[in-house]
């Protein structure tokens, strides 16, 4: 059994027909249910639910405060390398893009770590381009030895690994992993990933489960919004989270709803996902998974992120930089994508306190 079996069980499902059959009464009833089924979640992602967003928001807010309190966890990404062997049509780091490639030396890793640590942040997400040759697991482990001195929790967002490799990184100090499936629809996935190991849809889809089996503490999932119909992609992301949470009860599962941003290469989003759509996704997920984490990155604008604080979000990135070595050497690095919220950590802290929320810099201790 893998999540692919769950995905397959919906292959013939008539999404349009299901959406068309929903009434306002159905939506209201679902909003106040104690536990939502998979189809209840889908109903909250429907066009019919769009006229119930305020009701959903009130309930999502109450559930979030009840389970998480008035706190937002802050973390920041650190790009270790941008070498990539894939040709994903939508990514600035794709192999065919003519950009300067580099990976940080261990001295540079330390330099970046010191700059981030000085802001007080204790949770770090390390990223590499997808190249086993340039960013092997051994390189990640070397970097971890440096980073562990500065951070209490380190997560990875790298190419899919084997279960043994995840276990190796956990032993080296990693406690979280994020894996964006990008697109759950296999046909669209094949179109958007014309060459490179990332074409292997199933190996990527099952990566979070391999990480769970290896003993990872936290798992983050997501579809890149803009590549395919957002309602079904949001649905499968939620189902994937629910699948993992049900089988690996000790793992903290969270989702992220990233929307496409401008990047080198200029592939335009195939589907427009409005702010309203994004909010509906977040609210529906919160009602479906009351204890699930929801991460919103600096891809989103300052104004929108401020407003999302009270709508179910539990984690936010701060003072992000998507270029390799971009913190210590601002000139020359190519961003994977352009960030929209450029606030530094003190500005984020101030915003959260103004909204009556506590910024949490540390939420786990490497053991």
């Amino acid at each position: 059994m893998s999540f692919y079996d769950i995905y397959q069980s919906y292959r013939e499902f008539d999404f349009a027909g299901f959406f068309a059959g929903l009434t306002d009464q159905d939506i209201t009833r679902i909003i106040y249910k104690n536990r939502l089924s998979e189809l209840d979640y889908l109903a909250l992602l429907s066009p019919a639910a769009e006229s119930h967003l305020e009701e959903m928001a009130q309930r999502a807010h109450r559930l979030t405060v009840q389970h998480f309190g008035k706190v937002i966890f802050l973390y920041t990404p650190l790009y270790l390398a941008n070498y990539c062997v894939n040709r994903c049509v939508y990514c600035g780091f794709a192999a065919h893009n003519q950009i300067p490639r580099r990976k940080l030396t261990l001295a540079e890793v330390e330099e970046e770590a010191k700059l981030i640590a000085a802001t007080g942040l204790k949770h770090l997400l390390i990223l590499t381009g997808e190249s086993r040759q340039h960013s092997p697991v051994s390189y990640m482990k070397d970097c971890l030895e440096v980073l562990k001195k500065y951070f209490s929790s380190i997560s990875i967002e790298v190419y899919p690994l084997t279960e043994e490799e995840y276990a190796e990184l956990i032993a080296a100090g990693v406690d979280g992993m994020t894996m964006y499936q990008e697109v759950y629809n296999p046909e669209v996935y094949a179109e958007l990933h014309p060459a490179g190991p990332k074409r292997n849809y199933l190996f990527r889809l099952d990566a979070p489960e391999r990480a769970c089996r290896a003993g990872m503490r936290t798992i983050g999932l997501g579809a890149l919004l803009g590549l395919n119909d957002w309602r079904t992609e949001a649905f499968f992301t939620g189902l994937h989270a629910n699948y993992l949470q049900s089988r690996y009860t000790d793992v903290e599962v969270s989702i992220s709803p990233p929307r496409m941003r401008p990047h080198v290469g200029g592939f335009p989003p195939r589907v427009t996902v409005s702010d309203k759509n994004l909010v509906q996704y977040i609210l529906a997920y919160r009602l479906f998974m009351p204890r699930g984490g929801i991460t919103v990155s600096t891809r989103e604008s300052e104004e929108l992120r401020n407003r999302l604080v009270k709508l179910g979000v539990t984690r936010m990135s701060a003072a992000s930089c998507t270029a390799v070595g971009g913190r210590s050497h601002a000139e020359g690095g190519t961003n994977q994508f352009d960030i929209a919220d450029e606030r530094d950590v003190p500005a984020m802290v101030q915003m959260l306190y103004q909204q009556g929320y506590q910024p949490v810099f540390k939420d786990w201790q490497l053991l």
Binding site: G69, G120, R217, D250, E252, G356, D363, L367
Partner: protein
């Protein structure tokens, strides 16, 4: 009569323990503690940031209060033990609340792993306060391995659903000699009072205070309710009857 609660080598006048999670700012913690009259505060070690003065929750724990670090985040006994040792090494004292949770949907405690962690830590000299699902055999085992108290849940953490496990907690109070501290689920001061009336030694509250519109006022209400419930317990409530006792008994003529 002064009602002193002796536990873990300390003498306490308040039987309300408070948590520190979920507040919009750490700065409110001292006000909440003072309003409640509480002397014991639990802190998740996972959130203690010793390097960052301004955000370090330990800096907001009032002088004279007993600090009870908890092992929130631990998924098994081994992790709980390591967190407890880290807390001690960080100068958090020798009280520790064992939380071992391997269920992220309902956050129910893993009693089996909790017993294992308690045994090891009690042998190392910790005052161990294990958070458990109320189960008599588990409580007896914890008593045997050296726990300082048992902390059964009234309802799942953060649910504010009240004393859903009341009958099981009652059995623990009746059957074991350790103090029973009701932890988790209490949502209203009246429920805290009810637990105290039943004979609980203390209650631990977090979400109900932290997520109230006015946490300081709610803390005060909980302090009063716990004191009232304790007084009622000490006063020995009159017996309850299923039927009214007639003022003109039917058998009075037999005297």
């Amino acid at each position: 009569m002064k009602d002193i609660f002796k536990i873990g080598g300390r003498e306490l006048t308040s039987r309300l323990f408070l948590g520190t999670g979920k507040y919009s700012t750490n700065k409110i913690v001292p006000q909440v503690m003072e309003a409640a009259g509480s002397q014991v505060v639990t802190v998740a070690l996972r959130r203690v940031d010793i390097d960052f003065e301004e955000e370090n929750i330990l800096n907001y724990v009032p002088q004279g209060c007993v600090l009870m670090p908890n092992t929130s985040g631990a998924r098994n006994a081994q992790e709980a033990i390591r967190i407890a040792r880290l807390a001690k090494a960080a100068g958090c004292g020798n009280w520790v609340k064992i939380e071992v949770i391997s269920d992220n949907r309902y956050l129910l405690p893993d009693n089996y792993e909790t017993i294992k962690a308690t045994e090891v830590l009690a042998a190392e000299g910790f005052m161990v306060f294990p958070y458990i699902s109320p189960d008599l055999m588990v409580a007896k085992e914890l008593e045997k391995v050296g726990a300082a108290a048992v902390m059964p849940l009234g309802a799942p953490i953060g649910s504010n659903r009240g004393l859903k496990t009341k009958e099981l907690i009652r059995i623990l109070i009746e059957e074991i000699s350790l103090p029973v501290i009701v932890d988790a689920g209490i949502g209203r001061p009246s429920e805290a009072a009810e637990a105290m009336e039943m004979g609980a030694a203390a209650v631990l509250v977090n979400t109900a205070v932290a997520t109230a519109d006015d946490p300081v006022m709610m803390a005060r209400a909980f302090g009063l309710a716990v004191a009232a419930g304790r007084a009622a317990f000490l006063a020995g409530p009159g017996a309850t009857q299923q039927y009214a006792v007639a003022s003109s008994p039917l058998t009075g003529f037999l005297r």
